[in-house]
Amino acid sequence: MGYEDLLVVMLFVTFSFVLVCQIIRNEKHILSFLWIGVMIVCILAALVVFAVLKEGPLFSCGQRLYVDAFSVYHLAILMIVFLMSSIYANNYFQEEIDSGIFNIKVARRFGTLWFVSLAAMMLVLISNDLGIMWVGMETTTLVTAFLICPYRKKKALEAMWKYLIVCSVGIALAFMGTIIIAASAHKLFSSSTDMFLWTHLHRFGYLLNPGLVKLGFLFIIVGYGTKVGLAPMHTWLPDAHSQAPTPVSAVFSGFMLNTALYCILRYVLLVDTALGSTTFTHGLLIFFGLASILIAASFIPYQHDLKRVLAYSSVEHLGIITLGFGLGALGAVAALFHMFNHSVCKTLTFFCAGRIGRIYKTFDMNTIRGAIHVSPLWGAGLLACALALIGVVPFALFMSELLVVRAAISSGAWIPLGLFLAGITIVFAGVLHHVTELVWGNPQVQLENLYRTSFIEKGMIIVSLGVLIILGLWMPMSFKVVLEHAAQFMN
């Protein structure tokens, strides 16, 4: 069997794990199965990644599935984030298990949704058919909706409802866009199937009807943009992130947003080839990117809930990435690099925040004080991650933001540059203030870390921070090559 089949196998295996979840009888075992299963999928995905990097793009299922450097880059990030989250989830639900909320029924549902959402995101990444891609996106929305509230809580329900409605509306608009784009090609292909195949559209991009393509892209960027959390469609994001269980928020911030962005970028390429110029798409990308950065900047200083802060910072970072893609070739490299850094870092941040929240029994930043004295590991971790998030040397995010600035300068985009710097400076001030407030100081109440930290978790934190630091100071040739391969795609 060739690499092509790997794609199918990967999907199939992931789905099959859903069934496995149904037969396990113990919630703890389900939790541990989560990361074992994800580990297995990881291995398959790794094979795919290497295959693509070695032999170039792969097709499968009669061209319905397609992976190239760009998509495997995303795939890799997806797997990393999911693996980390699964490992973390293993310990995180201890408390609920003990208190019996997280019973076998909930656990099964959780496992099912977990694997389905993984599969759906994979489907989005590897599908060549724009329709299927849309189906995948919608599926992630519906599935993750329940991940937000595994057990019924008022606020969680509220968040879930908002998430459900806003995102469904957005995704619906995205489908509108998909149809229009497909329609723009309906002179070219006899069979309607081909109209939806990205590769076909890309090959004959220059023949597409520009008017339709532009119109379609408007719907696409608003539609999928809702899922990315681009302002002003970001409104669901802070609610969902703050209410979801921490592993889920980690997956949300860490990758689900990027998946949506991935879809937009696929279309960006089509539109650019159709119009023969990048001004239209890049203009929109820059606009939405900046909007997100500034909105996030103006909200962060006023947050009281730790996880909300992180959510808004996700809005900001996705904005930065979008902006980067809007800034041309160098920007694309920067954006991809930033995407990786942000996913890893944000996932970690959510982990630390989650555990600290557990210790203090709240995420309210007015009550959390002196976290580093209560739990040195998680406190220090939170501090480090926050510093990384606001772009402090020696973490890699500084480097990628530097690259964005460089791209802005080299493309002479002075006004975006100014707004961008203003935005990230305000975010810097805000986040730094919040974090120093809660990490340092005197813990009023006497608390101790109830749930032990497994060695895997410690390792996870140290290793991933280490990776971020190393990438900040030193760029391995191989990684650089991968980045440039992936960035090739954008032009």
């Binding site: 409802w161 409605i165 408007l218 719907f219 103006s298 040397v393 600035v405 305000i426 730094l432």
Partner: protein
């Protein structure tokens, strides 16, 4: 050169070792401290070699950074700063090994040693980095490590605040520098930081733009007025050995950067010189004025750093004037004064901070008004602190005077010279220096008088005792330095001149002539100092012998008829400074807090205290930040919690885009 790298490597390694052994206090202290000491010593050798005239090839490591390269070099300027950095850090480390020990039970000292070593390492890297990106990284690491050192005692609220302000300020400086470097790269296509550019492709406006960015970026770090507000917050918060390094050395990296910028941009505009002189004047005068108004010893010293940065800037401005008007003597004297004062300030300011540290260590009090009479319990500390005080007031026969004298000389040459344009700036420089000198003397008479002399004003001060030799030794060395630099100044400038020529591009021959001329003058000055010290010794000997003839009886101070004198009769620091503060009331907004419960049969307890806010903080920065927050808070209604609105945003966005698109086509 490799010696330097080994030294730096050792710093890192020992830091890490001390971090991981922090469970065993003594071990981690020994590891950290000894590592720093040895590492600094190793690093000092090449620096001294370079100053001695040895040349090193720049080293380029095959280290793959994104668009950056790991290339370092050691030219005269770098070596000069390296010398200062390493030697001061070394002494501070020795001091710290004893000083930090008081925290041994509530803190993990390994952490602070780790960051201390990182700080030293990064400062060294900053001055030897040749690639902009590398420089930026080193710069940020420096800020980060010092940030963690400042927040060493992070359970205290004010320390948290200080750390926050400090890191915010330093990050802003980084943002400016980032733009500076990337613009430089954009305009000239080179990320090379040292040396001069081929700026034929650099238009006038671009040069000015670059200069402004560089000036602000480095100015924030160096603490120019009005960017100085972080110093008085951060220095008091940090442990004393750290504040010594930060104030004595770290802020100088800002000056280093500024000098590099000037070298990069080639021939300066005249308005640069003017800007630098005026900022220098303001920093100097306002710095010392604010210092006088402080009651907190370390805060006061922090403001004095601002003042000395001002003096350094005045020298630099003079030198720039010289370059602008091709007056070689001004160039030389200006930059000589500038560089020499950098060295001097490093010496006496770290001395003073260490002194303050040992006072703090002995008494646990930073309030000047609650100290006093310490000269009896801590004679050596008092003596060295006095030396530092005389030096920083720029009084003969100590090193502070020498550098100021050079700048004076240059400025007077300017006034006496032919060129009419120079006279006005030269005047500003002279008047600035005079004002600063007078006020500094005033301030330090206050400090010495109220901290070490008279009677103890509090039980803590009464209980104090002399600190251990590990803390005294560095201070004694530094105090010796004050004398040595002053008495060998005519030699030292000969070593500094090559750096000046490197900065100004003055041809060596001319430079040497002026140097000889200056050296002769300095040798006369030194001769005077020698006489002075000699005669003082002789006369005090005579006095002693005169006294010995007749017996001496000691009584309480003549209280003009009051029989019982208590420490509370003494003049306090605030009352000592009161006339001046009143005189400069415009800038020094003194606030009085009087708690007066009134009088019935017997007067009740009444308390009165004053403190002086930093007018920049209260008049510029707070309102600014407030208004920004106000603007931002205007957006909050967006996220009002109503899903209808959220969907409405989506709908409006798409409709808006559709209509925009119609407008497009």
């Amino acid at each position: 050169m490799s010696l330097l790298f080994f030294g730096l490597g050792l710093l890192i390694v020992s830091g890490i070792v001390s971090l991981f052994t922090s469970r065993y206090h003594r071990l981690s202290i020994i590891a950290g401290c000894s590592g720093t000491v040895v590492g600094c010593l190793m690093g000092l050798i090449p620096a001294i070699n370079v100053l001695g005239g040895k040349e090193y090839m720049p080293v380029h490591f095959n280290w793959n950074m994104i668009y950056g390269s790991f290339s370092v070099g050691l030219d005269g300027l770098s070596a000069f700063f390296l010398l200062i950095i390493l030697s001061v850090s070394l002494l501070a480390a020795i001091f710290g090994s004893r000083y930090l020990y008081q925290y041994v039970h509530e803190k993990k000292l390994g952490v602070s040693w780790f960051f201390f070593n990182i700080l030293v390492f990064s400062m060294a890297l900053v001055v030897i980095a040749q690639d902009s990106i590398l420089f930026l990284i080193a710069w940020e690491i420096m800020s980060l490590s010092s940030f963690f050192l400042v927040t060493f005692d992070n359970k205290k609220e004010e320390v948290k605040k200080a750390g926050y302000i400090y890191f915010l300020a330093t990050h802003l400086s980084t943002v400016f520098l980032l733009i500076f470097f990337l613009l430089l790269d954009h305009f000239t296509g080179s990320l090379q930081f040292t040396g001069t550019l081929p700026h034929l492709n650099l238009s006038l406006s671009n040069t000015n733009l670059l200069f402004l960015f560089g000036f602000i970026g480095f100015g924030i770090k160096a603490g120019f007025v009005p960017f100085h507000i972080w110093l008085p917050e951060a220095h008091p918060a940090a442990p004393s050995n750290v504040s010594a390094v930060m104030s004595g050395v770290m802020i100088k990296t800002g000056i280093y950067g500024l000098i590099r910028v000037l070298m990069l941009l080639g021939t300066p505009m005249i308005w640069w010189a003017w800007l630098i002189i005026i900022v220098g004047f303001l920093s100097g005068v306002l710095g010392v004025l604010f210092a006088i108004a402080q009651h907190d010893l370390k805060r006061l010293l922090a403001y004095h750093s601002v003042e000395n940065i001002g003096i350094i800037l005045l020298g630099m401005g003079l030198g720039l004037l010289g370059i602008c008007y091709q007056s070689s003597s001004l160039m030389l004297l200006g930059f000589l004064g500038c560089l020499l004062h950098i060295l001097n300030h490093a010496v006496f300011k770290s001395l003073l901070f260490l002194g303050a540290g040992s006072v703090l260590h002995a008494t646990g009090v930073k309030e000047i008004n609650r100290l006093g009479g310490l000269i009896k319990q801590m004679p050596i500390t008092a003596a060295v602190f006095l030396i530092g005080a005389v030096a920083i007031s720029g009084l003969p026969p100590l090193n502070g005077f020498i550098s100021e004298f050079l700048i004076y000389l240059g400025a007077f040459k300017g006034t006496a010279g032919q060129n009419a344009e120079i006279i006005l700036p030269a005047l500003i420089i002279i008047i600035g220096l005079t004002t600063i000198g007078g006020l500094a003397a005033l301030c330090f008479t206050k400090v010495v008088g109220c901290v070490f002399l008279g009677q103890s004003r509090s039980s803590e001060a009464r209980a104090a005792s002399e600190t251990g030799y590990l803390m005294l030794l560095p201070m004694i060395i530094l105090a010796g330095g004050c004398f040595v630099i002053s008495l060998c100044s005519h030699q030292i400038i000969k070593w500094v001149v090559p750096i000046v020529t490197q900065i100004t591009g003055l041809e060596t021959k001319l430079a040497l002539d002026i140097t000889h001329n200056t050296a002769d003058i300095l040798s006369l000055v030194v001769w005077i100092f020698a006489c002075f010290i000699g005669i003082v010794l002789v006369i005090s000997f005579l006095r002693k012998s005169l006294i010995e003839k007749q017996e001496v009886d000691d009584l309480p101070t003549w209280g003009c008829g009051y029989k019982v004198s208590s420490p509370r009769f003494q003049y306090t620091a605030s009352s000592f400074a009161q006339p001046l503060i009143k005189f400069f009331g415009v800038i020094l907004r003194k606030q009085k807090h009087l708690e007066y419960q009134g009088v019935d049969l017997f007067p009740k307890k009444t308390s009165f205290k004053t403190h002086t806010k930093d007018v920049f903080m209260s008049a510029i920065y707070y309102p600014l930040f407030k208004s920004i927050k106000k603007v931002l808070s205007g957006f909050l209604w967006l996220q009002y919690g109503r899903i209808h609105l959220y969907v409405l945003y989506v709908a409006l966005t798409i409709i808006g885009l559709l209509i925009w698109y119609i407008g497009l086509s």
